[in-house]
């Protein structure tokens, strides 16, 4: 039985076939409409994440399956002190597949050892969120037609942004990915990521604090939020925050075919005026998230012959 706990659980052929399957679903939406008829997805959200939960639920419904579960640990058996192992063992009696979000790191891995059905990690604390990374990869592939030979800019909080770390790690398997790392100097990509992923895989990279200067070279700009509480003092935050906000003015310097991505939710780091720019891809990214989850559910349930 297969699970998806960490993106590195997937071999390169498995990853590529997931992305291909998602593209097939996008192109022939009716093809899989009944593929999961009679199957149940349990969405076990021990902490709330409406966005991710709705994506999983929509994915299963679009496959003709149904959904059970809970959306907040406080209302579940966990609040009464039931262990993760016992909860998933129980749920595994009813459901065919589990999507699980949990505030503790490693909870989905533990669940996968007890559930008796495939488990998908829908986020475990700040640790892993593999379906977000899959959605990002699918978006890059759909927008650019390839997953190599790209100059990808990452902008914002690159120190604590796990989405960024996970995507860079996944991209390191592809050829010709150059990285432009745009962040306040207090929030750079961590050293371990630089050593064990970026430099180890000989990925060319530049680090800069100047988004405007970096923009014209980019094929993709992946935006993330710079949280106020990450700064040591208010003055630095006020001084720097606008430099990492993407607006229509800055977009004038970007290539006509550059794609803007963002894992969402957005606060103010992308001006709403950018939303109507055809280069803005973050809502397409949301939709791609549903399609890749459909592909993942189909694959883990082995319902495609």
């Amino acid at each position: 039985m297969r699970h998806l706990i960490d993106i590195t659980d997937l071999s390169q052929p498995e990853l590529d076939s997931l992305l291909d399957l998602a593209s097939e679903i996008i192109e022939n939406p009716g093809k899989c409409a009944d593929a999961c008829k009679g199957k149940k997805l349990a969405a076990l959200f021990f902490e709330p994440s409406t966005r991710t939960r709705l994506s999983f639920e929509a994915a299963m419904l679009d496959l003709g399956g149904s959904v059970i579960g809970f959306s907040d640990g406080g209302s579940s058996s966990a609040a009464k002190g039931e262990s993760v192992a016992d909860t998933v063992r129980t749920v595994g009696c009813y459901a065919d597949i589990i999507a699980m979000r949990h505030p503790k790191e490693g909870a989905p891995l533990l669940a996968s050892r007890h559930a008796g059905v495939p488990v998908i990690n829908a986020g475990d604390g700040g640790h892993n969120h593999p379906t977000q990374t899959l959605a990002d990869l699918l978006t890059i592939k759909r927008e650019k037609g390839r997953l190599g030979s790209l100059n990808i800019g990452f902008c914002g909080d690159l120190k604590f942004g796990r989405t960024v770390h996970s995507l860079i790690t996944a991209l390191s398997r592809y050829e010709g990915i150059a990285l432009t790392l745009i962040s306040p100097k207090e929030l750079p990509v961590p050293e371990y990521l630089k050593a064990s992923v970026i430099e180890k895989n000989n990925m060319p990279f530049t680090e800069t604090v100047d988004m405007e200067a970096a923009l014209p070279e980019l094929d993709i700009l992946y935006m993330t939020r710079v949280q106020k509480e990450r700064f040591f003092n208010e003055a630095d935050y006020i001084r720097l925050k606008d430099r990492f906000i993407l607006d229509a003015y800055k977009m004038k310097n970007a290539r006509p075919d550059m794609s803007v991505m963002h894992p969402l939710p957005r606060v103010n780091e992308i001006s709403v005026k950018v939303d109507d720019d055809p280069r803005a891809c973050y809502f397409k990214q949301v939709l791609n998230g549903k399609f890749i989850r459909m592909a993942l559910i189909l694959t883990l349930l082995e319902v495609l012959s």
């Binding site: 262990s83 993760v84 192992a85 949990h102 505030p103 503790k104 790191e105 490693g106 909870a107 891995l109 533990l110 475990d124 604390g125 700040g126 640790h127």
Partner: protein, 139 residues
Amino acid sequence: MNVDGVNSGIVLDHIQAGKSMAIYRYLHLDKLECCVAIIKNVKSGKLGRKDIIKIDAELPMNLDVLGYIDPNITVNVIKNGEIAEKKRLDLPRELVNILHCKNPRCITSAEQEIDHIFRLDDLEKQIYRCVYCETKSKE
């Protein structure tokens, strides 16, 4: 080496002096029905002093953990009163309930009776990581 008292079994030799009781616990030797002898502070040319554990039974015992605790330990397999095999110890790939994860955000801090499992990540630097949260065994 004196293997008196062991006919068919295992002798763990060259244990760092004072470590024998820890090994006794790690290997759960208290659960055995057979003869187990712990000899402490034996004079040894190599170490000055050493401990020895003698187990008088042929056990399908997993001794991998010894490689982590002390790779200098010699494992002698005794058959018919003679040393039949000297085993080299490798670092085990996985350690179960030997190391404990101290990350408060890790599921091991919340789930009752969960096994603490660490996997070998870097053989050269002897770094293990918690399988749940990937926290390193040592910084």
